[in-house]
């Protein structure tokens, strides 16, 4: 019964979405507001139906309704209560319904916000959103139905993938999808702009906050993913350049480029064609991402199952790209810019370079990800490229981007005179060089590390310079210090939000560099009472214990850590789930600002007399999470409604 009800609701929602999309488009063409209003009602109907489906599915999970196949595959009688809720989006079908639900939510918000303000663009944007919704609902009905019936009804389900029983794994998909789906709205408005020919600034101004919100969630999702990878998976890293990770990173790169290039269009009316293309590319990459993770076309440790879903996604991607690019070709003349680049030494130029490097990085990641396909198609040989490729090509690009972070905000528009260059950059450059020299003096020999230090100090000083100058200007007018600083942040929140985000990136950059350059690891087997040493720390193996939980049992190893004095006991473990093929490792760690101690339990003797462990001392990894926090705070600051528009 549940399965049939859910399936029925999905079908009706699909019909409504299709109707709404067509009605909105027809209403836009003919100018008949009645049609547009009808489309709005259809959208609300879709929202209600999809929310109900989601609620119904959650209810099925909570009541152990194994007559629904998806429930039987992803949970069993031993799954704890809260994980039964989060299991709803734990596998393929659930992830599609989550995506669809977020799309409907964004559509409703779009209706509420833009129904009145964006007369011309709104109907077409609504039509586009409903069209995208219709596609995902189609996938839910045809390729990945969450409401398939399971006959005969099994006595117990298979159970949730144990890796998903984790807080990180709950929030990571939600944040990531909010980011992905968020980019549908700027795309929808871009389509509206192309169709109506209103390719000026209107669509940009409307979507500005949407873009930052989507970017914020995407960044959050990526950071949580890295955190989860580091703290749960137990391989000691936070990023592996795995195809699925790359699929989420590419739209982030192009989305960041878009965030910056809109400022050029607002100021100088340049780069209109570039901006529209960037939005289309970003949205296309979000679709490509889902295609990659669900079609099985590229091998990945994360991949879901294959099936007709891959073909559906590829077809939709083709439809979107060809239509969007066709519209661009149609409006080509009008898209040619009004403004021209005055000088290579200017803010426009810095932003343009920023975009070029970001897109180059996105291209590199794309190329590396599809390389196995390419090599097989061209030479018939299956070849893949590993992490070294991505690191080798991307590191110079990222370092240059960090450098540009310092140049862009301070350099003058149009043409920067030698005078202004000296005034703005003398201190930052000088202190940057000093930083590199200091690092060298302190024993740092890696060129990359020295360059990273120099660049981060350079950028930090530029931010300080800008902030002090602006504060001083306010102080001169009679304000006192704290209100001056606070006022700056709140009144010009876009600019200073951006600075805070840049600060976050600086901290992350240092963390990444530290973890790559200075981390050490070892692997060893210890008898009870024996110790291992690494980087000044001593780890003594004290013994093994076993614990039984509701749906698994756990073997825990106790290791006393000391570095002169006893610091504590680390307990890495292995969890054994009856339905799983192998135990799941459970890392234990001791986090610190300077370094993390990281312990993974490998093999152990049945009688607890010896254990093999992998030890890591990872340097500066915590800075990545701290930097991430700063970054998200900056994004939130930038999203705040503006009090006063800066000139």
């Amino acid at each position: 019964m549940t399965a049939d009800l859910g399936y029925g609701m999905t079908l009706v929602a699909l019909g409504l979405a299709l109707y709404g999309g067509i009605a909105a488009g027809a209403g836009a063409r003919s100018g008949r507001t009645a049609l547009i209003e009808s489309a709005q009602h259809a959208a609300i109907g879709v929202f209600v139906l999809v929310t109900s489906c989601f609620a119904l599915l959650t209810y099925a999970f909570l009541t152990f309704d194994f007559s629904v196949r998806y429930v039987a595959t992803n949970t069993n009688l031993g799954t704890p209560f809260y994980y039964r809720i989060t299991a709803v989006w734990g596998a393929l079908e659930g992830s599609i319904i989550l995506w669809a639900w977020m799309l409907t939510l964004y559509t409703i918000i779009l209706i509420v916000r833009h129904r009145v303000g964006a007369r011309e663009l709104y109907p077409w944007a609504l039509a586009t959103m409903l069209g995208i919704l219709a596609f995902f609902l189609l996938v839910m009905t045809v390729a990945a139905p969450p409401f398939q019936r399971q006959m005969p009804v099994p006595a117990d389900g298979r159970g949730l993938n144990p890796l998903l029983e984790d807080t990180g794994m709950i929030t990571h998909p939600v944040a990531l999808y909010l980011g992905f789906t968020g980019f549908s709205v700027p795309f929808a408005f871009a389509m509206a702009a192309l169709i109506t020919g209103r390719i000026g600034d209107t669509w940009l101004v409307l979507t500005r906050r949407w873009t930052i919100v989507a970017w914020y969630f995407l960044s959050l999702g990526l950071l949580i993913g890295g955190w989860w990878s580091y703290h749960v998976l137990g391989w000691g890293g936070y990023w592996a350049w795995d195809p699925v990770e790359n699929a989420a990173f590419m739209p982030w790169l192009t989305g960041t480029a878009f965030l910056h290039s809109v400022m050029i269009q607002e100021r100088r009316r340049m780069l209109r064609l570039w901006n529209i293309s960037l939005v289309i590319l970003t949205f296309g990459l979000t679709l490509f991402g889902t295609f990659l993770t669900r079609s099985g076309v590229i091998a990945s440790v994360h991949a879901f199952t294959q099936g007709s879903i891959g073909i559906l996604f590829l077809s939709f991607l083709a439809l979107v790209l060809l239509t969007a690019l066709g519209l661009v070709a149609w409006r080509w003349e009008a898209l040619r810019s009004e403004g021209e680049l005055d000088s290579i030494v200017s803010r426009e130029s810095a932003f343009l370079l920023n975009n070029v490097f970001l897109v180059a990085a996105a291209f590199t990641v794309f190329f590396g990800t599809v390389f196995p396909l390419l090599s097989e198609a061209v030479r018939g040989v299956k070849v893949s490229v590993g992490a070294p490729f991505f690191n080798q090509v991307n590191v110079p690009l990222f370092l240059s981007l960090v450098f540009l972070m310092g140049v862009g905000p301070l350099i003058a528009w149009r043409r920067a005179s030698l005078e202004s260059l000296k005034r703005n950059f003398l201190w930052p450059v000088a202190l940057g060089i000093v930083a590199a020299a200091a690092a060298f003096a302190l024993g740092v020999r890696s060129l990359l590390a020295a360059l990273t230090f120099a660049t981060t100090v350079f950028v930090a000083v530029t931010i300080a310079v800008d902030f002090t100058r602006a504060t001083r200007a306010r102080l001169r007018v009679g304000e006192s210090l704290l209100p001056a600083m606070g006022g700056l942040l709140l009144r010009h929140n876009r600019r200073y939000g951006g600075f805070v985000v840049h600060l976050g990136i600086l901290i992350i950059a240092l963390g990444v560099m530290g973890s790559h350059a200075w981390s050490v690891q070892t692997e060893t087997t210890l008898h009870r009472g024996e110790s291992a040493e690494l980087a000044g720390y001593r780890f003594r193996f004290d013994g093994l214990t076993a614990v039984e939980e509701s749906n698994h049992f756990k073997v825990i190893g106790a290791f006393t850590v000391s570095n002169g004095r006893v610091l504590g006991v680390l307990r890495p473990a292995k969890k054994f789930y009856p339905q799983e093929q192998a135990p799941i490792a459970y890392v234990d760690y001791r986090l610190g600002l300077r370094e993390d101690l990281y312990l993974v339990l490998g093999d152990f003797a049945r009688d607890g007399s010896q254990a093999t462990i992998k030890l890591q001392v990872n340097r500066l990894v915590s800075w990545i999470w701290i930097g991430g926090l700063v970054l998200t705070l900056g994004a939130l600051l930038a999203i705040l409604p503006e009090r006063h528009r800066t000139a």
Partner: protein, 178 residues
Amino acid sequence: MKRLWRWLIPLAAVPVLALLAYGFRVSPRDIPSPLVGRPAPAFTLATLEGAPLGLETHRGKVVVVNFWASWCYPACYEEAPVLERNWRGYRERGVVVLGVDIQDKREAAQKFVGDFGLTFPVAQDLKGTVSVDYGVYGVPETFFLDRQGRIRVKHVGAVTDDVFRTTVDRLLAEAAPR
């Protein structure tokens, strides 16, 4: 001239899409089986009822060897009715379906066979040698043998009606050995 050049822009997306479509033809999960075209390794096992089950005794028929397990959910559960249905449909035409249960408990295997009402011969590969000989990575995997006892098709994952019938019809159409 300039007017027409712009229409190349949408076409720029085509090579990328074509490359991705190409990906469907080559599945990265396909572990290539060099056994295809070679004589199928012989085996002699005992069915769940205790009767002997030897591959050689079925030479001259089209043989479908299906590796499965009761803990392989949901794929083995999906294909069990498919195998039974097609076994009943094709048994008079010189086709035999053999089930090889790997790394399973006897009671669980018997329950599975009972639940799905399977009537084709099913044996347990207790020593694991048969699955090694056939290069079995996981379950389910199904091997289609021709009348000369050669492995012709290896199917990974649940067998569908379509796959079964297309493959078996093709092998039946080939000339019988002397």
